[in-house]
């Protein structure tokens, strides 16, 4: 296991293209950290910098207090699972997994063992040891019966396990996983997610996982790092990311369906904090809003998660039901009024019909407030 420390780490490509900028991140021993963000946010670049496959342009990276900026991948004691698995097509599963274990002795010691006649015996013992490690790792992943097959004869899920096994067998300090589940179907992805969690719990290794799927990020990580345009937006545990997003981007990116946003103004009215937008008029002394009262009035953006939008409630506004999406265990309802669309989530038993009018309200205590500017930093 190893701790990884990134201090102001950045990557600048020719033409002053800043793929990653000023990343400060400390990953503890045995932690499962997920890097998540939309395509092009720099998460894969950051992972590749940890692996040593991309050079670090700015900042310092340490693995177990050793500065690794100039170290090649071979010297970092890391293992990586690639998005397309990168299995060697000309080797069978056993050889794919054993490849990283083949000992590359220095020439003088190899020459000495050749001259002393111990070479063949040494090689045989080495191969037996490697086979044992491969068999153990294969048993952990349930792929013993596949050891003689070539990658072309494997399904997507099997290839993914072999790729994991290839990383596992080396017992590295750090596991790096670059969207390993993205090529699997939805059902298999959910199964493999659970297996990855169990594997992490069993091995206790440091894992850094990259995904663009925020659901995957929330379900897997001990901590989640949200990135956008090469910049870190928030680093926190999944629940904190969900319940206290640091800015509008994180609020809208995390959670399905996305958080509903209302642009308006926040002011005091009769000693009560009031938010007014085209659709909403909210009043109440929510504890979270109290620190803001001194700075009012100001413009703000109010965010509310779909599950906190109340349907058939009193004291709200009237909207038309545009669409109802049934998911078995829940129902998402899209309502529209005055050209503004929002999504509500309710129980599957609610009797809501498309095209009908419905009254809509929001739970003030669950509302989030963000600054009304480009960054949209969280206010409350």
């Amino acid at each position: 296991m190893a701790a990884i420390s990134l201090e102001r780490v950045g990557k600048i490509y020719p033409g002053n293209v800043r793929a990653v900028e000023g990343v400060d991140l400390n990953i503890a021993h045995g932690e499962f950290t997920v890097l998540v963000g939309p395509s092009g946010c720099g998460k894969s670049t950051l992972l590749r910098m940890i692996a040593g496959l991309e050079t670090i342009t700015e900042g310092v990276m340490k693995i177990d207090d050793l500065v690794v900026n100039e170290l090649p991948p071979q010297a970092r004691d890391i293992a990586m699972v690639f998005q397309n698995y990168a299995l060697y097509p000309h080797m069978n599963v056993h050889d794919n997994m054993a490849f990283g274990l083949l000992r590359r002795r220095q020439f003088p010691s190899r020459l000495k063992s050749v001259l002393s006649g111990a070479y063949r015996a040494g090689r045989r013992a080495e191969h037996i040891e490697i086979s044992q490690k491969v068999n153990t790792a294969a048993a952990t992943l349930g792929i013993n019966q596949l050891l003689d097959r070539r990658p072309a004869a494997l399904s997507g899920g099997q290839r993914q396990r072999v790729a994991l096994g290839r990383a596992l067998v080396r017992q590295p300090k750090v596991f790096l996983l670059d969207e390993p589940l993205s090529n699997l179907d939805a059902k298999l992805r959910v199964e493999m997610r659970a297996e990855l969690r169990m594997l992490h719990r069993r091995l206790g290794v440091t894992m850094v996982y990259v995904t663009h799927d925020q659901e995957e990020a929330m379900s897997l990580g001990d901590r989640v790092v949200v990135l956008k345009d090469g910049l870190v937006q928030q680093i926190a545990a999944p629940q904190e990311i969900y319940s206290k997003p640091a800015n509008r981007f994180v609020a809208e990116f995390v959670g399905t369906p996305s958080m509903n946003m209302f642009t308006g103004s926040l002011f005091m009215q009769e000693n009560t904090a009031t938010f007014r937008s085209k659709l909403l008029l909210l009043q109440g002394n929510a504890p979270a809003w109290k620190p803001l009262t001194a700075s009012l009035p100001r413009s703000a953006v109010l965010g509310i998660r779909p599950e906190h939008v109340l349907l058939n409630a009193t004291g709200g506004f009237t909207a038309t039901v545009e669409a109802v999406e049934h998911y078995g265990d829940r129902m998402d309802v899209v309502v529209q009024t005055s050209g503004h669309r929002l999504v509500a989530r309710c129980s599957p038993d609610a009797s809501i019909q498309e095209g009908k009018s419905i009254s809509v309200a929001v739970d003030l205590t669950r509302a989030h407030l963000f600054e009304q500017n480009e960054i949209g930093k969280r206010m409350a």
């Binding site: 090649p72 890391i78 990586m80 690639f82 990168a86 097509p89 000309h90 490849f99 080396r170």
Partner: protein, 306 residues
């Protein structure tokens, strides 16, 4: 006549016309192919027939051009051992020396070309360094140089090194790569996913290990083409062995065959010459039969990974 019947008659007539036209085209194509094949196969057939004749009939067929002399009711199979035993100054030794030299030179040249060209092609395709493209273009430009231009400078170089009358001038240059095959390997390797190289790096391998364990096995199609082409060229190469190999003991089969021709002069023993030439050709014919798919693919596709 109804419209339908008219339509049916029209369809039948056009189909019949199509069938007749198609048959004529097929016949003409067949005739053209047979004629072409006959023209190409005839010299080989002539060699086989002459190699089984007596000296008198062979001389008559060669000088007078009388094709009836080619067919003999009494094939002289002993021409083959007679020809091979008379190569060189010592009976049988000349042939076996030449055969051994050809095998050694060809094997080393094939191995050298494959290893060096694949290594350089891999470096040009996968290693990022300043001047990569310029170096690649410069290497391609050397393909425009005719061999005759570098013949004399190379001879002077090898003479100064003391390598004349050894196989070193034939073998050593092969280990420095061949521009054409470097190009083929580079183009092929450029299409291999980068992730495989990265996975090998993460697995702890350096560039040489990645080349030997990952890239070279994946380049089997290009390696087959490179090996086949190089084998045929080197086995049949006459000019370089003629320039650098002076003694009988060092001669390859191509040079020994030429000495045989000079030794017996003109068309005196043309039947033995043809017999010896056929034996020299056998490895290339066998190789083509075994590797013909790669051979034809190499001519047609340029070894692009499919």
């Amino acid at each position: 006549m109804s419209k339908n019947h008219g339509a049916t008659n029209m369809n039948f007539d056009s189909a019949r016309a199509g069938a007749v036209g198609g048959g004529l085209t097929r016949t003409l194509s067949f005739v053209a192919l047979v004629c072409g094949t006959a023209i190409i196969v005839f010299p080989l057939l002539w060699m086989v027939l002459v190699s089984l004749l007596t000296p008198d009939r062979a001389q008559a067929a060669t000088v007078s051009g009388d094709l009836t002399k080619l067919i003999s009711s009494d094939p002289q199979w002993n021409n083959f051992p007679d020809a091979l035993s008379q190569m060189g100054s010592v009976r049988w030794k000349g042939f076996f020396d030449a055969l051994a030299n050809s095998i050694v030179v060809t094997t080393l040249v094939v191995a050298g070309t494959v290893l060096s060209s694949s290594l350089v092609g891999f470096a040009l395709a996968r290693i990022r360094f300043r001047g990569n493209n310029a170096l690649f273009l410069l290497m391609l430009a050397t393909m425009m140089l005719p061999g005759q231009v570098t013949m004399i400078p190379l001879f002077l170089l090898f003479r100064n090194l003391g390598w004349v009358d050894t196989i070193l001038p034939l073998v050593v240059p092969a280990f420095f790569g061949s521009a054409f095959f470097i190009f083929m390997y580079r183009q092929f390797i450029a299409q291999v996913p980068e992730a495989l190289v990265e996975a090998a790096k993460v697995d702890g391998w350096g560039w040489f290990g990645i080349w030997w364990h990952v890239m070279l096995p994946l380049c089997r199609p290009v390696t087959a083409i490179c090996a086949v082409f190089t084998f045929i060229f080197t086995w049949n190469d006459f000019l370089a062995p003629l320039i650098y190999l002076h003694s009988d003991e060092q001669a390859t089969l191509a040079v020994a065959l030429n000495s045989f021709r000079n030794q017996y002069g003109g068309v005196n023993k043309v039947n033995l010459l043809m017999a010896a030439s056929l034996v020299t050709m056998i490895p290339c014919i066998l190789l083509f039969l075994v590797a013909q798919r790669q051979f034809i693919e190499g001519l047609g596709k340029g070894a692009v990974k499919g």
